[in-house]
């Protein structure tokens, strides 16, 4: 046991002391904070700057309601023909020309939008939405509803999604926030398992090519050496993960309090709401209620303690599961270039789990595919952390964890039997058949 500790210590320290580790660990949170800041900045700036002025040319007699200017789109009805406006568009301060031809309310057709630049999808949607609302209002009025009643009808509904937890307590949740967390967790899990699994493989190959392996295993059992390496590198991964979380939080907090004053943060939140009120820029009247605030609110509603601890469990489990296989691969080859044929079958389930988790599972976190992906140990580490923010029944979580534990004990056992023979084999091209033979060797 003492020897395993010595090996863990060496594997850990030799990696943590490396320049590349230190740079990666400290640079990544800075990058993340930087990207986060940039996104925030551009969101704010982008929303503020989106202001299109549109000339409306209407030959429509049926539609008597007029398009109303809001904070992003300014409509101005002009009394010119379409051709004239189109010709003078370059010189005028209009960005687009909207043409409303005569149509029946039942079948609104022929609406056109002209501009110097192609109108974006969001502008397109917004204008068509405005026109649809116009038509609906007019239809309602024709059926005898007074303007006053119509104004009263206009309410903005903001759905607050709540999930009833096992305890009966209501938790705020938001599909948006859950999806963001699920994506981040899934990508992180995939990255960690791959990067650190491959580090185990490299470590084994390094011992083989530098020929220290025989000196080592005259002192320790191959199993001890393999486990020492796997655990040592796992600790490196955990160190990096924890440092990333701590550093990212610290940097974001510090950056937020230094570079951005409180009023600005509020402004970003309000202007991001996409509501109907024009923000004057200096005074904010409305209480912040936009989707951004929504996400912030439900982020606070997620149980981060649980997510992080389950993440760590599945990272360790999934990492042990895969790194044992990587160790076996490393033991079977003489150099990294020979690893390709063995990497494929190990990479495939991981990649598949990653791809399916981020598509199928995020769309339907309670479906059959999600369930099975989060049970099979080849994919469960990724699938489970992706499902987690949406809420997973306790028994499923427990079952998945148990299967993963059995799974990694299995792969470690299989890998150690291949490893103990493989590390002493040189100069031969190893095949799967040969690896199976090694597996069946007695001591």
């Amino acid at each position: 046991m003492n020897k395993v500790l010595l090996i863990i210590r060496r594997e850990y320290l030799s990696r943590v002391k490396k320049k590349s580790f230190i740079i990666m660990t400290f640079l990544t949170p800075l990058l993340i904070a930087g990207i986060y800041g940039l996104i925030g900045y551009f969101t704010y700036k982008g929303i503020k700057d989106t202001h299109d002025k549109i000339a409306v040319v209407s030959t429509n007699k049926t539609l008597t309601e007029k398009l109303v200017t809001d904070k992003n789109i300014e409509y101005e009805y002009v009394n010119q023909s379409l051709e004239e406006v189109k010709k003078s568009l370059k010189k005028s301060d209009f960005d687009y020309v909207l043409y409303l031809p005569e149509f029946s309310l039942a079948e609104p057709k022929g609406v056109e939008l002209f501009g110097e630049k192609q109108a974006g999808l969001s502008l397109n949607n917004r204008i068509s939405g405005d026109i649809e609302e116009l038509i609906r209002n007019q239809k309602l009025k024709e059926s005898g509803i007074a303007q006053a009643d119509l104004d009263q009808l206009k309410t903005s509904v903001d759905i607050e999604t709540k999930k009833i937890a096992d305890t009966g307590k209501e938790e705020s949740s938001s599909a948006g926030a859950s999806t963001i967390i699920a994506f981040i967790a899934g990508i992180l899990m995939f990255m960690f398992i791959m990067l650190y699994g491959i580090q185990v493989m490299r470590g084994v190959i390094e011992e083989k090519t530098s020929r220290i392996i025989e000196v080592m295993i005259s002192s320790v059992k191959p199993f001890q050496l393999m486990m020492g390496k796997i655990i040592g590198i796992a600790l490196v991964g955990l160190t990096q993960f924890i440092l990333w979380i701590v550093l990212t939080l610290t940097i974001s907090t510090v950056a937020l309090s230094v570079f951005v004053d409180k009023a600005d943060v509020k402004k970003i939140a309000t202007s991001a709401q996409g509501g109907t009120q024009i923000s004057t820029g200096t005074t904010v009247v409305q209480a912040p209620q936009g989707p951004m605030v929504d996400i912030q609110k439900s982020l606070a509603g997620l149980d981060f303690g649980k997510i992080v601890s389950v993440f760590i469990f599945f990272f360790i489990g999934g990492y042990l599961f895969y790194s044992a296989l990587y160790a076996a691969i490393g033991s079977a080859v003489d150099s990294e270039t020979e690893t390709q044929q063995f990497m494929m079958p190990v990479m495939m389930p991981l990649l598949l789990g990653y791809a399916l988790s981020l598509s199928v599972v995020t769309n339907d976190p309670y479906g059959n595919v999600a369930f099975w992906l989060s049970m099979i140990p080849f994919t469960s580490p990724i699938a489970m952390v992706v499902r987690l923010p949406y809420g997973v029944p306790g028994w499923e979580l427990a079952l998945s964890m148990a299967i993963l534990v059995v799974g990694f004990i299995g792969t470690v056992w299989v890998a150690s039997r291949i490893y103990r023979v493989g590390i002493l084999m040189y100069g031969k091209k190893t095949t799967f058949k040969e690896m199976f033979k090694w597996f069946t060797y007695k001591n």
Binding site: L6, S14, E206, R211, I212, E214, V215, S218
Partner: protein
């Protein structure tokens, strides 16, 4: 101190060791010889507990080999290496702690040996900055640092320059005087001949020769001599004393390789020749271990 008894090791298609038995006496230097692929490394891997035999057993000081013996054996494999990116001092410290030494004791001994072998300034160097010969010295120190009773060296002198080989040879002899038992494994007999007390020859997974160096050489002596003289002598007249195997004439001198007839001695040869010629030298032809080795292995081929 080490008894190897009827060891059999079978790999999938070939038998690496077939009923091999050996006795290594305490305080001796034992040579384990054989051509490449004969099974030497397989046997050493069993003694160092890297693998286990299919049948047979190994006794260490009368006890069946077990995990406690790992700290009493030092092993320098033929394929030896070090962690390239690790500092020398730290590396030797790590290897000796794995053998059970405490940090303090290991540090003390490393300093002692580094001083002794003129490696004092190497502590913080990385392996990749050392020459191959320097690396070998480090590996040697790592092998013997935990003061094992049994030290196994696989091809000990390959890779050493003559000066360092000599330094290492002297250290081996000194450790041997202090009581350490050695096993040398090699296919280059001449490199260890002068050091070994006892040898065993393994060829194609079987032991084919075993005995003390003197004994073996004794049995391979066949009363053959080189004799060199100046003058004329008709060797036909000495036919009942020796046969001439080979004749060479160099600058007026004659060099003969002769084999004595049964019950004759070198003295009688001299007595016969002395009246006629001026004798320059007379040497007994003693086969080197290398000759015996080649002869034995070839004979196996022939059979």
């Amino acid at each position: 101190m080490l008894s190897v008894k009827n060891i059999v090791k079978q790999y999938a298609t070939h038998r690496a060791l077939d009923q091999v038995s050996l006795e290594v006496e305490s305080g001796k230097i034992f040579g384990l010889l054989g051509p490449n692929g004969a099974g030497k490394t397989s046997l050493i891997r069993i003694i160092t507990q890297i693998t286990a035999p299919d049948s047979g057993e190994v006794l260490f000081n009368g006890e069946r080999l077990n995990a406690n013996h790992i700290s009493q054996i030092g092993y320098l494999p033929e394929e030896r290496g070090l962690y390239k990116k690790m500092e020398i001092g730290e590396q030797v410290l790590y290897l000796s702690k794995l053998k059970g030494l405490s940090t303090a004791e290991a540090t003390k001994r490393i300093k002692f040996w580094f001083e002794k072998l003129e490696m004092g300034s190497w502590w913080n160097k990385k392996v990749e900055d050392l020459s191959k010969g320097m690396q070998q010295k480090v590996q040697f120190v790592a092998t013997i640092l935990h003061q094992p009773e049994l030290i196994i060296l696989d091809e000990p002198f390959s890779g050493f320059d003559p000066v360092n080989a000599d330094i290492i040879k002297n250290e081996i002899l000194e450790l041997n005087r202090q009581g350490a038992t050695f096993i040398f494994s090699t296919h280059r007999m001449e490199s260890v001949e002068e050091l070994c007390d006892h040898i065993a020859l393994i060829d194609r997974s079987k032991k084919i020769l075993d005995g003390s160096v003197d004994e073996i050489k004794g049995t391979y002596r066949n009363n053959t001599y080189w004799i060199e003289y100046e003058g004329d002598y008709n060797t036909e007249s000495a036919k009942d004393i020796f046969d001439v195997l080979q004749t060479e004439n160099i600058k007026g001198k004659t060099l003969l390789k002769i084999q004595l007839q049964k019950d004759k001695t070198a003295n009688e040869v001299l007595a016969t020749l002395l009246p006629y010629v001026a004798i320059h030298r007379l040497d007994e032809v003693i086969p080197t271990m290398n000759d015996i080795f080649i002869d034995k292995v070839k004979r196996q081929d022939y059979e």
